[in-house]
């Protein structure tokens, strides 16, 4: 079965650079979530989208922005990168309209390293 696809899997950037992460949800899933997991930490919710509209906002820095496109894929844009942004970024999707059974399906993550 198709899963959540994230790209790139690994990314190395310098401080103050920008980075863009992409997420392709499971087909027919209408909700996308972004999480940040620092080293040895639990995943922290950043932001989510339902039907291309922002639905919830968590601890996302002002330097970050995200959107969901007409084909339901989502992009997380990060600017003025800081060392502390080094983390594993997860995208997850779920299907609310199709009878949400509750669980989120996670991608394998994008590992961002800021030097």
């Amino acid at each position: 079965a198709a899963g959540v696809i994230q790209s790139p899997r690994h990314l190395i950037k310098e401080k103050r650079e920008t980075a863009t992460l992409k997420c392709y949800p499971i087909p027919r899933h209408d909700t996308v979530y972004w999480y940040q997991q620092g080293p040895g930490q639990d995943p922290q919710f950043l932001i989510s989208f339902y039907e291309k509209m922002q639905s919830d906002k968590g601890s996302i820095p002002d330097r970050f922005s995200a959107q969901q496109f007409s084909d339901y894929h989502s992009e997380l844009n990060m600017s003025s990168l800081e060392l502390g942004d080094s983390a594993l970024y997860f995208c997850a999707s779920s299907n609310l309209a199709g009878g949400n059974t509750g669980e989120l399906f996670f991608g394998e993550g994008s590992r961002l390293t800021v030097l």
Partner: protein
């Protein structure tokens, strides 16, 4: 706001012995509870969930969890641990609908041969 607590950072179990990973929750309404497992440098894999119904929930890889409303707990269990079960386990909670999952701090399970 909902939250979950995993009181143990680390759980060590001998292979073949039963294992328990503890989780307690706090929600204002009915809880929707989940367990996920994470292997090194991998994504989060769904194990099982409690939405409604039977308090004992069975999930993937022989895991099960018991929902206890009076103790606000949702402990993960397995009758016989395998070395391959060694991983990081997260308990999570959410409200109904498309609200985000809130995760606990995680418990590292180490199964020793």
């Amino acid at each position: 706001a909902q939250s979950v607590a995993q009181p143990e950072d680390q759980v060590n179990v001998a292979e073949g012995n039963p294992l328990t990973v503890k989780c307690t929750y706090s929600v204002s309404g009915n809880p929707y509870l989940f367990w996920y497992v994470q292997y090194p440098n991998r994504g989060l894999q769904f194990l099982l969930k409690y939405i409604t119904g039977d308090n004992l929930v069975k999930g993937s890889y022989g895991f099960e969890a018991e929902f206890n409303k009076s103790q606000t707990s949702f402990h993960l269990k397995k009758p016989s641990a395998l070395v391959s079960d060694s991983a990081l386990y997260f308990c999570a909670v959410r409200d109904w609908g498309n609200t985000p999952l809130v995760f606990g701090k995680g418990t590292r399970l180490s199964v020793i041969a």
